[in-house]
Symmetry: C2
């Protein structure tokens, strides 16, 4: 569809208008109405499993013909287990507390007015993502639950899968009595659709890009709409000379090897020089047993039992997302903090120490969205933090920082109660 | 200074770098160090009163020569009373609670980690403003107190006044042992400096424009940096047919006539048809006694005792900032809400009613940064809300909504405590 630009523009404008109208309605639905829609969508996906997998097979076939990598094909596949996961996700979001309408901090002022805040939806959320079609459901569920309307734009490789899922969402919304345009999935593979989305501030309130760094950077730079974005995850663990050795070892191994391809994995290990000799041999052995390639600073290499690749300046600012770890020995915590603030990506950084004052200083001075003491960076995750679900992890400072759940899709307005109060 | 673009670019880049460095340091100062700087700046301004007023006289003279309006010249003037106000402002900000480092919501998770949030400065705040030189002090004080560095760009009419104030700020910072570049006032009247500021995302974290709508719109559209902005204040009062007549009358008169040129003044009055006949005569009389010009919808004009100008479509979306009021009679609250959401500016809107359910629905359905029940829109103000001070009123939805005080100049990061916890 939409072979020419004017048609596409009209299509996108119409879609934006419908989203705005739906958003006004969505803000008014009660929790049980939204939950019922989430559960119905899950039931429909379950009963339409065959249709969804048939459409997914078309995408898979096209993907193979287009020479997609095995990793990309794997992300594209909607196996039974993934469809089960989508349904469970919907059920789980339905059980979460509804953030909308929450009133907090109502206080009387000397003037006699009573003032506080009420949590409200943001309005219309635009989400641009790549090849995983299950994001369509995850994103739709979180936007619905938080009382927002959503405009979703998935990858072109997943167009048939996404449209199949979209039909289930629409049917679920209809059956639950919610506006069908509360969720819209852009039905075109024309790349210009994304550019148009980013230029619709009157229709879309915030853009959330999900995918590789280049996609996110491009969107952040082109968007006329505020973007909640997640760039690198260059996470550090700093082992202080006052660290408990066992805790340090466990945390470092877990932070690096639990999963390699995730944004909260440790990429650089910093070790205080006073403790390096005591911990490096055991650490090196365990990491090498797990097949992790080590790249060390000069001092690390001198202490090492074997040949170790020299870490270059580039290593300190690399997000490997792989079984590679750079190691640097620092004089003290100040040097560790300076390294993190210079090379890190303000994602997640941890200190291992038993020293109270150092823990406190590290927490204050490391400027990252999650700062941890004696815990693995692997905990940086919406579920682990108790948000219930996560639409992404923000490395921005404004609005939402760190894992973004339902609350990050809402805003607070002021409410004022009076009894005929006027200002003097 | 800075007559050519390359020089200006270098000057701005240097200024940005210094701001970033200062911001890292500022995040670490204790409350009493920051407060001492605020008080010292106040003392220096007091003792440098003569110098400041001499420099201000140069701006006034130039302004008269350039034919500035009386209103603009008045805004530019640093009378003794205004300088007193600046000093009091500094003292008052020093007494406010320090938002930085506040830890909240620390909760244990099933995994055993304990997670919560810590309030931290945003980093570097860029503020672009127009002719009032006292904004230099207000903005500097709030940025300092919230642990941020500030880059301030005032109007060219106030360049000498701003630089005089800037010298006092620098001396105060120096004497208190804070980095001098924690506050920098751009020292050039070259308009390109603003464009460069908006293009320094590596140096500036958020831009706050203060001034007329056209300045703010231009900045929001040009900025590569997130903007906290305040556009129109088209505020409404809706008098419901279940309103108490006395409260309604008082609130409507106060919201319109307390001050005309302010963003929280009522610009359109909506009246339920069921109560219009009872309240309109008294209202009309009081408003006309105060010299307010009334522009009514067809039904209002029919009920009116005298000739009334017809309100046009343009009136409903006008921020008069003057002794003018448009009046519309609506069938019911739903119509009032629809009118507000269509023509309003999401600033401040109030209902007057004794009906509990309607009050509740109005609060939920009016999508504005402040929604009031039985109180005058004139209360929409940082001081009245108890924020202590205000850098502006945001009509945005992301990050900060409504009056923006110290908290709006901060963000929250996650902190995680463990005892060697690793993720399974």
């Amino acid at each position: 569809m939409n072979n020419n630009t004017a048609d596409l523009e009209q299509y996108m404008e119409n879609l934006g208008r419908q989203a705005r109208t739906a958003a006004h309605l969505m803000a008014q639905f009660a929790p049980d109405e939204k939950n019922s829609a989430l559960l119905k969508i899950g039931q429909i996906i379950d009963s339409e499993r065959e249709m969804i997998q048939r459409e997914n097979a078309r995408d898979m076939q096209q993907g193979k013909a287009d020479g997609l990598s095995d990793a990309m094909l794997d992300r594209l596949l909607l196996s039974d287990a993934r469809i089960d996961g989508m349904i469970e996700g919907l059920q789980q979001v339905a059980t979460l507390a509804d953030p909308v309408g929450e009133i907090s901090d109502m206080r009387y002022r000397p003037s006699g007015i009573q003032i506080g805040k009420m949590r409200v939806p943001l309005g219309v959320i635009g989400i641009v993502y790549e090849s995983r079609p299950n994001v369509t459901i995850d994103a739709a569920a979180l936007c619905l639950k938080s009382g927002n309307a959503a405009v979703l734009r998935g990858g072109k490789e997943a167009i048939h899968s996404n449209q199949a899922i979209y039909r289930c969402i629409q049917q679920g919304l209809r059956e639950a009595g919610l506006p069908e345009s509360a969720v819209q999935v852009v039905n075109t593979i024309d790349r210009n659709a994304v550019g148009m989305m980013l230029n619709m501030p009157e229709a879309i309130d915030v853009i959330i890009p999900r995918g590789g760094k280049s996609l996110i950077e491009r969107i952040a730079s082109d968007s006329k709409i505020p973007v909640i974005k997640h760039l690198d995850g260059i996470c550090h663990v700093y082992i202080d000379d006052k660290a408990d050795l066992d805790k340090a070892l466990n945390i470092a191994i877990n932070a690096k090897t639990r999963r390699y391809g995730v944004c909260n994995a440790m990429e650089t290990l910093l070790i205080a020089s006073g403790i390096a000799q005591s911990i490096l041999p055991a650490l090196e052995k365990q990491l090498q047993d797990k097949g992790v390639e080590l790249r060390g600073c000069e001092r690390t290499r001198q202490l090492s039992n074997q040949e170790m690749v020299a870490a270059t300046e580039e290593d300190w600012s690399s997000e490997y997302l792989a079984a590679i770890l750079s190691i640097k020995i620092v004089d003290d915590m100040e040097q560790a903090i300076a390294h993190i603030n210079q090379y890190g990506s303000q994602h997640t950084d941890a200190i291992v120490t038993e020293d109270f004052s150092r823990a406190r200083q590290f927490m204050r001075d490391v400027d990252s969205s999650s700062v941890m003491v004696n815990a693995s960076t692997a905990f940086a995750d919406g579920f682990e933090y108790g948000l219930g679900a996560e639409i992404g992890i923000s490395t921005d400072k404004l609005h939402a920082r760190g894992p973004v759940g339902l609350e990050g899709l809402t805003s607070q307005k002021y409410i004022v109660f009076g009894d005929g109060h006027i200002r003097s």
